[in-house]
């Protein structure tokens, strides 16, 4: 089953090209349709939060954008260029790994379980991509890494291995590591879910500081409704692999239109 790609533009052009665009994106695992013809735009510098019930496809959206998953149909654009496809003789063809690597360099991601490299120090984790991917000298890489470790408040932990850091500290190193690569888009997948309640604010404070600073575009999946409400430019409520409802935090949390959104928010509020 091959899709007719001619209905998708080769590039996005115009004044308001979004930083990220999902067009008609479908993702299946066997018979299970996880994302169903998803359309979603994120503007440059925007902070968009994704909320929704378990299994609604929130993580999958981020993973596809990070190219950790392939897509079954549709196109994802990043910074005006297709990510999942590339242009060849005026047509969109599946992207080569070289093309994917080029576009992927614009994206960074933080994971629920941090995924720091356990055999490297905090500094080593931050320097790894700078030296091995961007080709910076060790001195430049160290300088840039230290700026970021400083920004997340962990300069003095530079020589510690992850096993000797708390969860909150590990996640802050992971954020520094991702930011060191200077991505245009940052993805956060439930970055506070694995943390003890008392250290959650260490991490949310770092994210809070990223908002508005630079023109970093952010896409965040979270179960922390209060944080989502406070920090987001826009909140998307996912249900069954599609955006059921989206809007400003005030509108979505205080005046949800859709019944499923109301039910979800009530259930979450009850649980707290």
């Amino acid at each position: 089953m091959t899709e007719d790609m001619s209905r998708y533009p080769l590039h996005l052009e115009g004044d308001d090209v979004p930083m990220v665009r999902f067009r008609n994106v479908t993702k299946r695992y066997g018979p299970l349709v996880v994302l169903n013809q998803l359309d979603l735009d994120v503007s440059t510098g925007e902070m968009v939060t994704i909320i929704g019930p378990s299994g609604s496809g929130k993580t999958t959206v981020l993973r596809m954008l990070m190219t950790l998953e392939t897509i079954d149909s549709g196109v994802i654009y990043v910074d005006g260029e297709p990510l999942t496809h590339m242009e060849r003789n005026g047509q969109l063809l599946p992207a080569s790994s070289k093309h994917i690597r080029r576009i992927r360099s614009k994206i960074g991601m933080c994971f629920q379980h941090f995924n720091l490299f356990p055999h490297m120090t905090a500094l080593g984790n931050c320097m790894e991509g700078l030296v091995q991917v961007l080709g910076l000298s060790r001195r430049e890489a160290e300088e840039r890494s230290m700026e970021l470790l400083d920004m997340v408040g962990l300069a003095e932990k530079r020589d510690e291995h992850p096993s000797r850091l708390s969860g909150g500290q590990q996640q802050r190193v992971a954020i520094a590591r991702a930011l060191a690569m200077r991505p245009k888009v940052m993805l956060f997948d439930e970055v506070t879910s694995a943390l003890d309640p008392e250290v959650i604010s260490e991490v949310t404070n770092v994210i809070r500081r990223l908002v508005g600073a630079h023109d970093l575009t952010m896409l965040m999946v979270t179960h922390q409704m209060g944080f989502a409400k406070e920090i987001s430019d826009r909140v998307c409520f996912f249900f069954n692999g599609a955006v059921e409802e989206q809007g400003t935090p005030t509108k979505l949390f205080e005046n949800p239109e859709r019944e499923r959104t109301q039910q979800f928010l009530n259930a979450v509020l009850d649980a707290n």
Binding site: M66, T67, L68, R101, R104, S105, I107, G108, M109, F111, H113, N115, L116, F117, P118, H119, M120, T121, E128, G129, Q132, V133, H161, P162, S163, R164, A174, R177, A178, M181
Partner: protein, 223 residues
């Protein structure tokens, strides 16, 4: 009752020291081949080129399911019939290198599979190439869990070197047999072989477990 003759032991000592050196050389040489070959085999099995992964998997199975002795004979005696004439040493090293390479590839595979998927994903999110991901992220983490298996096979290859005596590699076993044939004394030579094997195997096993702990500590992977 046959009595133990110390003077024979002293007389034979130089020959046995020399033979022990050759045994170590055979074990070390075979192991070096196996360590590298095992890595090649495991990486080949993990490519997405299915004919290659299939061929390599079958090859590893074949090696693991047949006796080392047969493989030694095959390389040494069957090789020449296809125009591949090898000295006993070369044939012996190739045979044990292949044999243990197949086993080590399985040890490596276990080590690599013990590295969580999240590590691969983090490497990808940093845009590390596949080669760099292996070299910098996966192999260093696959190593500590693989070391005890690698150590077992190091001791194993050492203990299997007598197999090479059958094709004329003058290692310990070969020497002891030669002494027996010359002097009709078997007790001292074979006891000496046993003592030498013991004297090397036991400390080696201990050193390997120390080494494993040291690697874990060096990589910062102790809690």
């Amino acid at each position: 009752m046959i009595e133990w003759r110390w003077h024979l032991v002293w007389e034979l000592a130089p020959r046995f020291v020399d033979a022990a050196g050759k045994t170590l050389l055979a074990a070390g040489g075979g192991y070096s081949i196996a360590v590298v070959l095992g890595l090649v085999l495991v990486l080949a099995q993990r490519t997405r080129f299915h004919p290659l992964t299939f061929a390599v998997r079958e090859f590893v199975e074949l090696i693991r399911s047949t006796p080392l002795l047969l493989q030694v004979f095959f390389v040494f005696y069957v090789g020449p019939q296809f125009g591949l004439v090898l000295s006993p040493w070369t044939a012996g090293l190739i045979a044990i290198g292949l044999h243990y390479g197949a086993y080590l590839s399985e040890v490596y595979r276990g080590g690599i599979e013990s590295v969580p998927a999240g590590q691969w994903e983090a490497a990808k999110a940093l845009n590390l190439s596949v080669v760099r991901t292996y070299r910098r992220i996966v192999i260093p983490q696959a190593l500590p869990p693989a070391i005890s298996g690698m150590g077992n096979y190091l001791v194993g290859i050492f203990k299997d070197t007598p197999m090479l005596s059958v094709i004329g590699v003058t290692e310990l076993m070969h020497t002891a047999t030669a002494v027996g044939a010359e002097s009709y004394r078997y007790l001292e030579p074979y006891t000496m072989v046993g003592a030498i094997f013991l004297a090397i195997s036991l400390p080696a096993a201990y050193l390997i477990s120390r080494f494993e702990k040291w690697v874990r500590r060096t990589l910062g992977m102790v809690k």
